[in-house]
Amino acid sequence: MRKVLAALLALAASSVFAQETIKIGVITDKVGPAKPYSEPTLEGIQFGAGEINAKGGVLGRKLELLIEDDQGRPDISATMARKLVDAGAVFILSITLTPATQQQQNVTLEAKTPQMTPMNSGDTLTTQLANPYFWQTGPLGSVQIATLLSHARAKQLKKVALISDNSDLGQLLAKFFRAGLEKSGIQVVTEEVVPRGVTSAEPQMQKIRAANPDAMFMAGVLTPENVLILRAYRQMGLKFPIHSSYNLSVPQYMSVAKGLLNGITFVDAYDPDKAEVRKFEADYAKANGGKTPYNIHGYGYDGIRMVAEAIRRAGSTDKEKIRAAMQQLEFSGVMGAKGMKYGFPDGKRTGFDPNGMVVRVYEGDKQGRVVHVGQK
């Protein structure tokens, strides 16, 4: 009898405890174009939440992830944001396409709900709409080009080529790459676009060759089209150096672009040598049956931990207090160069330290060492 009573009490206690979870909404893309990025980010978030809950949660309560799929459609994304707000989420993590994250902002602004994207890099997300409830901790396109340029400074680039694709993020990155290049006094002699679905990038690369640039900057984010560019580069025996956005840090390139990558420098937010990174990879592998994570997982992992930290500092689940706490937050995570901290000084809503990116180089077909840090 006593055993039954004890069991009933334990059940009652646990159910009461279970009702006290802190709901964190996550909007991801499980079907559409952002899936290769959203999926690993989500896994990073889930791992992070699991870690936090195993240590007792936040403010004595466990984190509960409410995960919604926006099917890669921005208008559904806004609907999902409303669903999460109605369901009582105190924070929404957006890990889907840039336009989808943008569309959700109309909802989070209206509903005064804190929202953050740990992985989008579109600069316009914090400028198109004045939303004090929105933060972006992904590595901005403008930061990417500035980091690449500071690394290339020694090379005295005078004129360069810029190549991208016709996706919305690719176009956005190209715009900010161009702005960064021109600000440094480097002339963009030609800007080319490889549209989705073409069978060859040779015409574009021929135009670039004819312009005789000192280097080529890649701002595209579509994998097959980037592979076409690299193939044409090799086909035509071109020699100028290639500098790429963080898109080339996606590990899939190592298998789909074999033999095409050696010597390419790309900007990344992941230093595999960093102590935090090594710990993250080991812990993740242990919890996931030996499967190792890669850089994209880290965005999610940092994101959820920052949200948890903000709630902890706010001392409550009141959205206004969380907003204030997040704005004051300083956090040292897995991503970024050694010693980098996330922060939102002076009311800024972009949290990735402008000096926190690294430049890495492909050695053979493997993502190699860090050759440069920050924008100095």
Partner: protein, 281 residues
């Protein structure tokens, strides 16, 4: 000048792919009048077959290629059996199988996406990097020669011609209509799959590659005309040259160059919908 020559080879190779897809459409349109937009997805299946058999399992190229083609013949035959034959037997309007095949397009794409994931995969090239384009052109010419000979010289081929000219009369003459249809779909799938296998080393095998190929192939068909087999290749080459030469030489901002194939398509539809090459009377 060197640019132009290099570009010509690149455009010729791309044009061959478009031509093959156009040929696949043509093989199915001629005897049945059915426009099968799923040819792009068939090409995708061929590409993934190449990835699996040649890339993962690493069969020797001729064996892998034969296996892929064999699989594609089956896929084409199965598609016809499932989505076309019941409708034709019922006497459904022409639009019905076209729409059913649109549904199959989605089924193919999602199945591959389910099976292989959203990431693109590399497909091996048999003759190495430098000779891939030559290989594409030669393979295409062989296929076109074969199909042309089939239509012109063999009795089965002539039976196809008869069916495309007049279904009822052909049936009355004892030509087995269902067999012709099944054969045309199987052949179409085989050719589309080959196109996918040929182009995949360039564009990578990924689940979104089908629809652009289907649209480009159809544009090539409209330009070249349904009447003659050679028209498909001509249309494909013209389209590829127009596309690539415009990007290289036209003083347009990069984004607008994508509009060229679309404008070309609309132009041909308005001015010369039967295409450049007329069927022989």
């Amino acid at each position: 000048m060197r640019d132009f020559l290099e570009l010509s080879i690149s455009a010729a190779a791309s044009g061959c792919i478009y031509g093959l897809i156009a040929l696949a459409y043509l093989l199915m349109i001629r005897p049945t009048g059915i426009i099968n937009f799923a040819v792009g997805e068939w090409a995708m299946v061929g590409a993934f077959g190449g990835f699996l058999l040649l890339g993962r399992i690493e069969l020797p190229y001729p064996v892998g290629m034969a296996a892929v083609l064999g699989i594609m013949l089956l896929v084409g035959w199965a598609t016809e059996r499932i989505a076309v034959r019941p409708l034709v037997e019922r006497g459904a309007p022409l639009l019905a199988p076209i729409l059913a095949l649109l549904g199959m397009l989605v089924v193919f794409r999602e199945s591959i996406s389910l099976g292989f994931g959203p990431d693109p995969h590399q497909v091996p090239e048999p003759f190495g990097f430098e000779h891939q384009k030559t290989y594409m052109i030669v393979a295409t010419l062989i296929v076109f020669a074969g199909v042309w000979l089939f239509f012109e010289r063999t009795t089965t081929g002539k039976a196809f011609e008869a069916v495309s000219l007049n279904r009822k009369a052909a049936a009355l003459m004892g030509i087995n209509l269902p067999q012709v249809t099944a054969f045309s779909f199987a052949g179409g799938a085989g050719i589309a799959g080959l196109a996918g296998l040929l182009v995949a080393p360039n564009i990578s095998a990924h689940y979104l590659m089908g629809v652009p190929l289907a649209i480009q192939g159809f544009t090539a068909l409209v330009i070249g005309g349904v009447g003659r087999v050679e028209g498909a290749l001509l249309g494909g080459l013209l389209l590829a040259f127009a596309e690539q030469l415009t990007v290289r030489y036209a003083p347009l901002p990069a984004g607008y160059a994508q509009g060229v194939p679309l404008l070309l398509l609309m132009l041909f539809l308005l001015v010369r919908p039967t295409g450049l090459l007329r069927a022989r009377a």
